[in-house]
């Protein structure tokens, strides 16, 4: 069970309210079928809608990446809620680093960057693109689109996209709007 001080710490770190934290904890427990105190990939992929989501795998990977535990592929509740905190809506009166625009973009970036080297290469991009649209377009079109994307965003012409270039490419988008979820109390 969660102690009060733990809840306080989490609230301070993530900006969630007490009720939200309790709610998320019960969700964590319901996902953790075997009661081991941590979640692994199978626990996530057991969620039916996630399994049919074209990017389901990548999302799960991104969860584990964030926590830096891609070696043993387990996350505990603290790590779980840290990742989810990225998706809190921006609150101008109570700013928090974790759900700032930059952190949100960093999560989006990690969806593409498979090997976590801080760059999105053409191959990594094609991989994601293929997951999303692969069955509907020819391989040529896929290549062309991937090429096109890299060219658009690649400011320093090194053939890959760095995090700064990624942020620049997305500056017109209202990231807060697109990457926020209303967490129930």
């Amino acid at each position: 069970m969660l102690q009060d001080e733990e809840i306080q710490e989490i609230a301070a770190e993530t900006g969630f309210s007490k009720n939200q934290i309790v709610r998320l904890y019960s969700r964590f427990l319901s996902l953790d079928r075997q009661g081991r105190g941590y979640l692994d990939r199978e626990d996530f992929l057991r969620i039916p809608e996630l399994a049919i989501n074209p990017l389901g795998d990548r999302i799960v990977d991104a969860f584990f990446t964030e926590t830096g535990s891609d070696t043993d592929f387990r996350i505990n509740f603290r790590q779980f809620i840290r990742v989810l905190a990225h998706f809190r809506p921006l609150n101008k009166h109570k700013p928090n680093v974790i759900n700032s625009r930059e952190e949100k973009l960093r999560f989006a970036f990690s969806m593409y960057d498979l090997n976590k080297n801080g760059y999105i290469t053409r191959e990594e991009f094609k991989f994601i693109l293929n997951m999303m649209v692969g069955s509907n377009i020819t391989p040529d079109q896929l290549d062309s689109i991937a090429d096109r994307t890299i060219t658009e965003a690649d400011a320093d012409n090194d053939g890959k996209i760095s995090f700064e270039e990624f942020c620049k490419a997305m500056e017109r988008t209202d990231i807060d709007q697109k990457m926020s979820i209303r967490f129930l109390n």
């Binding site: 998320l24 969700r27 319901s30 996902l31 996530f44 969620i47 809608e49 996630l50 049919i52 989501n53 074209p54 990017l55 389901g56 990548r58 999302i59 991104a62 989810l84 998706f87 809506p89 989006a108 969806m111 593409y112 994601i128 693109l129 999303m132 649209v133 069955s135 509907n136 377009i137 020819t138 040529d140 079109q141 062309s144 689109i145 096109r148 994307t149 658009e152 965003a153 490419a169 997305m170 017109r172 988008t173 209202d174 807060d176 709007q177 697109k178 990457m179 926020s180 979820i181 209303r182 967490f183 129930l184």
Partner: protein
């Protein structure tokens, strides 16, 4: 301008003329029958029979001023036309040229109205400065007003140019609402559905109750010249409190406000009809029941409230059903491609009429039908047909709008008035204040629950964009006759004043106010490919996160619908659709558009340098590029003045580029293919040639449309390109 006026005078003189001729008929036959049939047939008369008595007298006056000789001639012709039972056929001598006005009267009048109204807009926009000063709707109203004064000065009976409520609701309104639904940005609507519905439903109900309470209380204190019952004032409030989609489109479309604001104001305007009309009909029925039976039973109230749900949801249901029908039918129209657009227009119109017939909300029906059918229908129609549909829809909507505003202008003169200063002022002040209160409260509530919040500026625009328009007028002229004439005239007058104030004052001032307040304009530039891919990626990601959380939020709902759509609806309603779990068409089309834009700009730059076009040996990337540019230039030059669908251009280029790249890699020559012509040739010779060659139009194989379909467009130049193209491997390009 004077030419216009002359045209008008002539047309109306002929109307009066024909009245005079009919007078002769009247004396010959049964007087009453003739009058009544005359009333029923003329679309521009009021439904009030009494008005007609003064008609013939005016007609006679005008007649003596103008065409004397022609009247005699037409009289003769009229007698000829009416044939049996109408007495002697007279023709004193062989008439070489005779004026047969009676025969073409009604279509001619309709045509002239439309022409005149559109000409006004054209003339006004000739002067750039004035054109941007006022919105078109304001211009048309003012011109209509001026015209009305003119016609009154001539002495023409106003009932000739009074807008008939049936004509408005059955013919003028549907195209506009259909256009609104068809071009509705569904994604934005879905994202804002909570605010739109809240404004439309709660907002309208609040406005109605508040205004009626105010007016009723004032009337109890005898502030006004007339007294009315509760239901009468509720009826009036219902029709005056609804924001009008026609006026909103007319004004907001020109000012390019950002999509968030537009969808909220416009969505509210469109959907609050479901409320306002329901309330109106509910109260109208109450009044009629009161007049007939004398009192209302509690069951009447209950059923009235139920009718609210039934009318709106029923209308939506009708719209969905008809959308299915039309999408399904369009799937099988391969062999009658030319006929396909007919379904696109007739079936939604039938949806409107069906809903109207069943007493449901017809506006909601046709709007929902347009929204739902769009994605399936555009996938099923050939390219030309889809463009034709788009163009024609806009055209119909614009013409309707033009005519409506012109009539609104005329309505001042053609209506019977009962001016009550207090009533008008209190109504105006009331609707403004209550709208402001309503918007503020609702936005406050909404902001607690939304990520995208309404700023103070947004709220101001929402208040200011509450324009009233033609629908209110249409409703007010169809008030039941059981209401006292004085009261009806009062309502009509006030309604007209409100419309004028909102459309003229708010419509004119909104553009400068918005630029002063620096409201965010619509970003018209295309989404880059990376942006559209990211948006899609984020959509999936957020839906996944919501699944992890076990919450059902906007993203999962949308995701579920898209999956349902891709799995069941699209295979059912579109042809040759590959079953898939995702919809990637937006990414692909974004890509095509961007690459094409670049290809076009590249080609234009190339054109400026104008190097010599010599034959070159093939397959180096440089020559490929030049070939592409040549093709681009030639096509652009041909189509400079035509309104070639840009989508067609995009598709063509992206296909061309893809193809070139592929051939580069694969080397073997592609099999030569004959160019496939477009649906409709420029003339019948072209059409026959195609049939002689035994070619049938084939359907494009990829979502983008093929090269062939566009290259074979009946023009010799283009055929040259394609023929050259199909001769591997030399890519000799000769200037044609």
């Amino acid at each position: 301008m004077s030419l216009l006026i002359l045209l008008y005078l002539l047309s109306f003189s002929f109307i009066a003329n024909s009245e005079h001729s009919n007078e002769h008929d009247i004396t010959l036959t049964n007087e009453n029958a003739a009058v009544i049939t005359h009333v029923e047939h003329s679309p521009f008369d009021s439904s009030d029979h009494k008005e007609h008595e003064g008609h013939s007298e005016h007609g006679v006056e005008v007649l003596t001023h103008l065409a004397n000789s022609t009247s005699v001639v037409s009289e003769h012709n009229v007698h000829e036309e009416h044939g049996a039972g109408h007495g002697e056929e007279r023709m004193e001598s062989f008439q070489l040229i005779a004026l047969n006005w009676e025969h073409v009267k009604y279509p001619y009048m309709v045509g002239i109205w439309l022409l005149a109204a559109s000409l006004v807009r054209v003339i006004f926009h000739l002067s750039k400065r004035f054109g941007n000063l006022l919105p078109d709707s304001a211009i048309l109203i003012i011109v209509g007003l001026g015209l009305g004064f003119l016609l009154k000065a001539i002495g023409l009976d106003p009932s000739v140019y009074r807008l008939n409520s049936d004509v408005f609701f059955l013919f003028l309104l549907p195209p506009i609402i259909y256009d609104a639904g068809y071009f509705m940005p569904n994604r934005y609507l879905f994202e804002n559905v909570d605010s739109v519905l809240l404004f439309a439903v709660i907002g309208t109900i609040w406005n109605t109750i508040a205004i009626s309470a105010t007016l009723f209380i004032c009337s109890v204190y005898e502030v006004f010249t007339v007294q009315f019952s509760v239901f009468e004032i509720l009826l009036f409030s219902a029709l005056i409190s609804a924001v009008d989609p026609v006026a909103v489109i007319a004004v907001f479309e020109e000012i390019h406000v950002n999509e968030f604001l537009f969808i909220n104001v416009f969505g509210e305007a469109l959907f609050n009809d479901g409320v306002a009309a329901v309330l109106y009909f509910m109260f109208k029925k109450f009044i009629i029941i009161m007049a007939t039976v004398g009192g209302l039973v509690w069951s009447d109230y209950v059923i009235g409230l139920l009718s609210f749900l039934v009318m709106s949801l029923g209308g939506v249901l009708v719209g969905i059903i008809f959308a299915f029908i039309v999408s399904f039918i369009s799937k099988y129209t391969d062999h009658v491609r030319i006929l396909a657009p007919v379904f696109i227009f007739i079936i939604p119109y039938l949806a409107y009429l069906t809903a109207e017939m069943l007493g449901l909300s017809a506006i909601l029906a046709i709007a929902v039908c347009g929204m739902m059918m769009k994605q399936y229908v555009t996938a099923n129609l050939s390219h030309d047909a889809a463009s034709a549909v788009k163009y024609f829809t806009h055209m119909l909507a614009q013409s309707s709008e033009t005519v409506i505003f012109m009539f609104l202008g005329l309505s001042v003169i053609s209506s019977e008035h009962n001016w009550d200063t207090y009533f008008v002022v209190i109504t105006l002040v009331g609707i403004t204040i209550f709208r402001i209160i309503g918007v503020l409260v609702q936005c406050f509530v909404l902001n607690q629950y939304r990520t995208k919040k309404f700023s103070a500026l947004d709220q101001f625009v929402l208040c200011y964009g509450g324009l009233r328009g033609a629908i209110a007028f249409g409703l007010v002229v169809s008030l039941p006759v059981s209401i006292d004439q004085n009261i009806r005239n009062l309502f009509v007058t006030t309604c007209i004043v409100v419309i004028y104030v909102t459309v003229l004052f708010q419509g004119i001032t909104i553009r400068p106010i918005l630029s002063i307040l620096k409201v965010e304009r619509k970003d018209d530039s295309l989404l880059t490919v990376i942006e559209s891919i990211n948006h899609k990626m984020l959509d999936y990601t957020l839906a996944g996160i919501e699944d992890i959380l076990g919450q059902t939020g906007k993203h999962s709902i949308r995701d579920d619908f898209e999956r349902f759509n891709a799995k069941f609806l699209r295979p059912l309603l579109t042809k040759r659709y590959k079953k898939s779990v995702s919809d990637s068409s937006k990414i692909i089309s974004a890509y095509q558009k961007i690459t094409l834009q670049e290809a076009v700009s590249m080609a234009l730059q190339f054109e400026k340098r104008k190097p010599s076009l010599s034959s070159t040996t093939p397959t180096t990337p440089r020559t490929i590029q030049r070939f592409v540019e040549e093709a681009a230039i030639q096509t652009i030059n041909q189509n400079e003045n035509e309104n070639l669908s840009t989508q067609a251009l995009y598709n063509m280029f992206s296909q061309l580029l893809d193809r070139k790249l592929r051939e580069l890699r694969e080397n073997p020559p592609s099999p030569s293919r004959d160019p496939i012509p477009a649906d409709i040739h420029d003339d019948y010779i072209g059409q026959m040639r195609r049939e002689n060659r035994g070619e049938l139009p084939t359907i494009p194989e990829s979502p983008g449309g093929t090269l062939r379909e566009l290259f074979g467009n009946g023009s010799a130049q283009r055929n040259v390109i394609s023929r050259r193209h199909s001769q591997p491997p030399s890519y000799q390009v000769h200037p044609v």
